[in-house]
């Protein structure tokens, strides 16, 4: 009875819905993803709602509470100007997250477009693209970023650009190599026998099959970008103090290592947690998308 009531398109939609659901369900059911959520969830939650927490502002000094070790009042302790390290760390996480997200997005978008064009059309475009990426890949990533920051100046935007510049060529290469191996698949040939357009082939057959590995790479790139940004700031070449970037916090504590170990070490633990969380995330996505890796 119910079977007859439902018209065909509606049934297809509901099928699609359940499939999407089951995809999300599989993601959430993966133990790596659960771990990632368990690590990143609280950090993100605290960062987003930090203004509602009973914490002093990240730049607020308190001369009554200078260089205090971790206590119930200041969970991560305070620095030499009495600023609350936890509050500063959370503000730093916000910067890190922004940098990580921006770099990953930039690398993903540029890599996807350029890599697809380069791999799909080959020929002169491809050779020029490869020569250019070769040049950028000739620099160790942090050193390329250092060089660029020294030119572009410090601050958020230059840092994001400097870090992406070593990720973008990597993403172009990754996308290109995937496109090259997909280009000769039988289903592409099948579409070509009915004279499907190049745009059709790229958008319907190639890109949907490369998105997943690119997302995996992007979450690793995000983790890496967070580490590089912290490194740059630590060297005094990234985000400038008093902005509480995580690298700056660690740099601040470097001179007081003996007197106040918490200033440098605790923000470092948070960076590590974020990086581990992002790696679990990428591992999880890969496991869910590629059943072969689930050995």
């Amino acid at each position: 009875m119910t079977q007859e009531m439902i018209t065909l398109p509606a049934r297809r939609w509901s099928d699609l819905g359940t499939l999407r659901q089951s995809g999300l369900w599989r993601l959430l059911g993966n133990s790596r993803i659960q771990l990632a959520i368990a690590i990143l969830g609280p950090i993100l939650f605290l960062t987003i709602f930090r203004s509602m927490l009973p914490l002093p502002g990240p730049l607020q000094t308190n001369l009554q509470a200078m260089t205090q070790p971790p206590s119930l009042g200041h969970l991560f302790g305070t620095d030499r100007m009495g600023r609350d390290i936890l509050s500063r760390t959370l503000a730093g996480v916000q910067i890190s997250m922004f940098v990580g997200f921006a770099v990953a997005l930039l690398a993903l978008v540029v890599g996807l477009v350029m890599g697809t064009l380069s791999g799909f059309f080959g020929g002169v475009i491809d050779r020029i693209m490869m020569a250019i990426t070769d040049i950028f890949l000739a620099f160790p990533s942090l050193l390329l970023a250092i060089g660029l920051v020294s030119v572009l100046g410090t601050g958020m935007i230059p840092v994001v650009l400097a870090i992406s510049l070593s990720d973008v060529p990597r993403f172009i290469r990754l996308q290109r190599s995937m496109v090259l191996s997909l280009r000769n698949r039988a289903y592409i040939d099948a579409a070509r026998t009915v004279k499907a357009s190049q745009v059709w082939l790229m958008t319907r057959h190639i890109i949907p099959n490369t998105i997943a590995p690119l997302l995996v790479a992007a979450s690793i790139a995000a983790a890496n970008a967070i580490l590089v940004e912290a490194g740059l700031s630590f060297l005094g070449l990234g985000i400038m103090p008093p902005e509480p970037s995580l690298g700056n916090l660690i740099r601040d504590g470097q001179s007081y290592l003996e007197q106040a170990w918490w200033i440098s070490t605790l923000p470092g633990v948070v960076i590590l947690m974020i990086a581990i969380g992002l790696h679990f995330l990428s591992d999880g996505i890969r496991q869910v998308l590629d059943p072969r890796s689930r050995k």
Partner: protein, 665 residues
């Protein structure tokens, strides 16, 4: 009925001597995360000295797991959980790894399926062959080297003394398999285990390897277990045959008896799925419905019951044991004759299609060439050129099926791509009246894994702007019905399908735009025998119903001749024989066609004995430097200086046939 005794009575050997190998109630499990797969589920058999036993089964039947269990060569998570493996009375299953390492390579030699990956790529042949000989036969390195060269020479490696220092990548697949055989024999084993040793090879090379194995084992007196999925191959050389299904032996007995009087419904069906050699009238191939059981789930009753036409109540409750059906012939079925009457019911006659000269020509190919030019290492050198297709002319009429056969590398797939317009031809003309569509060999890569089946089938319609949404959906349902699938498949994804179902979807997609010709490149090669018959039957039905023309490309001559009206035999980019299928198959004119047909394994031991035994020698020469004369001269038994000097052209041999040989008439 008095044959239906349990097998225990057979155990006591009359002479009191133990068998070479006696396997008793072997169980092998794979402990995966998703559950325990009971791959081998109680297998028992024995081999006498010098006896060749073939174990036949489809993929997933547990035949390879069984073979690998004998020497405990299974990788994690596979594990032999119970059973006895008595080799000359000693139980291998109770030995330590250390003790077993003195058996492996010494008393039992092993040959594996894929010769391309079975030899260490970064080690010379010598370094892989000599140390085991030194160890097992206690020889010094010089003597061992001489011994190794002797074996390589014996298995037919030309210039063995020099080739022993080559790396595997410098040899062809057939040569590597010969090296594997030499290696396996070098410890002078009493038993050889060959796990699908010819599956990855071309049909002519397959015949050479099978002959070689047969010859060498009878020469050295070694017993052999030969694992294969190809029943036809078995008839050629086995003494006894075991048929495996769902981890169990369902039938076991002398080869002639099994072929003449199969007792288990599964064996009977398998034999009926093979296209007959004598094709005076074409009957529909038998097909086995359904799928093998999931080996993770517990089985109640007979494993084959769901696919068996003769299944009755008892089959669903109790699993049958092997019972005696004749001298040394056992089968595990409650019915004494298996399918019995039900067996013949399927074989419905396929009425021959009528073709006439008035039918329109849908494909015409004239003097087609396709050359691939490589990159030269140095700019001033002439780049190497491969002449993949070297001047062929063909035509196909409406509703006609053209079969193209040849060994791998003969250019048959290139012809397919040219016909479809996927690659541009170097020169020559292709004329297609209407549209050409394709069915691919590898069902796995034929579909975009991210697309629903409805979208896959509709893709040609959408791309060409055919109809509106509703019309396309209706057409999709119609197509699914034509290939024997129901509507529920529309919202599934390719990874939810079996190999046979995928190939049906591929055919549906190819038919979507009502093409005039469908090019099928090895459409059944990746499929199991039982499924293969389904797809062939489907294609035969479709060509009758829709009068669509097919180009059927395959290395499997038996299948090609069954389905085709005309056959083109290709060798090194050229058509060497071209004509009516029955005529070419029954009375081949070109020596190459003759050799190909001689190499086809025939599922009839009596007929096999009467056939030409000498397989075609040598391998396909490099297409880089083709000889000026006949390309086949280097392998042809009848070649003369005239052949080597002057290229024979394709000439009329009879009214409906052409052949390219100076001595065809």
């Amino acid at each position: 009925m008095n044959f239906l005794r349990p097998i225990q009575a057979l155990n006591a050997s009359p002479t009191g001597q133990t068998s070479l190998l006696e396997v008793r109630d072997l169980h092998t499990h794979f402990l995966t995360d998703g559950g325990t797969v009971k791959a081998v589920n109680g297998v028992s058999f024995e081999i006498e000295r010098g006896e060749r036993i073939a174990i036949v089964g489809e993929s997933g039947s547990g035949k390879s797991a069984m073979a690998m269990s004998l020497l405990r060569l299974l990788a994690y998570p596979g594990k032999v959980v119970a059973g006895q493996i008595n080799l000359n009375g000693r139980d291998l299953n109770r030995m330590s790894e250390r003790q077993l390492n003195h058996i492996r390579g010494r008393e039992v030699g092993t040959i594996f399926q894929d010769p391309m990956s079975s030899l260490d790529p970064v080690m010379k042949i010598a370094d892989q062959m000599i140390p085991p000989i030194m160890r097992h036969l206690d020889m010094n390195s010089e003597k061992a080297r001489a011994e190794a060269i002797g074996w390589l020479d014996r298995v037919g490696i030309p210039d063995a003394g020099r080739r022993i220092d080559a790396y595997p990548f410098e040899m062809s697949g057939g040569m590597r398999q010969r090296v594997m055989i030499a290696m396996a024999l070098s410890g002078r084993p009493k038993l050889m285990i060959a796990d699908e040793p010819t599956t990855a090879l071309d049909v002519t090379i397959q015949a050479q390897i099978v002959e070689l194995l047969k010859e060498l084992t009878s020469e050295t007196g070694a017993g052999m277990i030969f694992i294969t999925h190809d029943l036809g191959l078995v008839a050629r050389f086995a003494h006894k045959v075991g048929v495996m299904y769902a981890g169990k032996l369902v039938e076991f007995g002398p080869v002639k008896d099994i072929f003449a009087r199969p007792c288990h419904p599964y064996t009977q069906s398998l034999l009926d799925t093979i296209p007959p050699v004598d094709q005076a009238e074409r009957r529909k191939l038998a097909q086995i419905p359904g799928f093998p059981p999931d080996m993770k789930l517990p089985l109640v009753g007979c494993a084959f019951k769901d696919r068996c036409a003769a299944a009755h109540e008892r089959c669903f409750v109790e699993a049958p044991d092997l019972t005696l059906r004749g001298p040394g012939h056992r089968a595990a079925c409650w019915k004494p004759e298996g399918l019995g009457e039900a067996r013949r019911k399927d074989a419905e006659l396929v009425p021959p299609m009528t073709h006439s000269e008035e039918d329109r020509v849908v494909v015409e190919v004239f003097n087609l060439h396709k050359h691939f030019t490589g990159r030269s290492v140095l700019p001033w050198k002439v780049p190497p050129t491969v002449r993949a297709v070297n001047g062929i002319s063909l035509n196909i009429r409406e509703g006609e099926t053209l079969g193209i056969v040849g060994e791998s590398g003969c250019g048959k797939s290139t012809v397919a791509r040219l016909l479809l317009g996927l690659d541009p031809a170097t020169s020559g003309d292709i004329y297609v009246d209407g549209m050409a569509q394709m069915v691919f060999q590898d069902p796995a890569s034929s579909f975009n894994p991210k697309m629903m089946l409805a979208d896959i089938i509709q893709e040609p319609l959408v791309v060409t702007g055919w109809g509106n949404r509703m019309e396309r959906a209706a057409r999709t349902r119609e197509l699914l019905a034509q290939v024997g699938l129901d509507e529920s498949y529309m919202s599934r994804y390719p990874n939810q399908l079996s190999g046979g179902q995928r190939q049906r979807i591929a055919i549906a997609r190819a038919l979507a735009l009502k093409p005039s010709v469908v090019v099928a490149d090895e459409p059944t090669s990746a499929l199991d025998v039982s499924v293969r018959a389904q797809i062939i039957n489907l294609m035969v039905d479709l060509k009758r119903q829709l009068r669509v023309s097919f180009v059927f490309i395959s290395h499997d001559l038996l299948t090609v001749s069954y389905i085709s009206d005309k056959i083109a035999v290709m060798y090194l980019g050229e058509v060497v024989e071209y004509g009516a299928a029955d005529e070419v198959f029954r009375n081949p004119a070109h020596p190459y066609t003759q050799a190909l047909i001689a190499a086809v394994p025939v599922p009839d031991p009596v007929a096999e004995e009467a056939r030409m035994k000498k397989p075609l020698s040598g391998e396909l020469p490099s297409p880089l430097d083709l000889p000026s004369g006949c390309a086949f001269a280097s392998r042809c038994p009848r070649a003369t200086d005239h052949c080597r000097a002057e290229k024979p052209l394709l000439q009329a041999y009879s009214k409906s046939r052409e052949a390219a040989c100076h001595y065809a008439n």
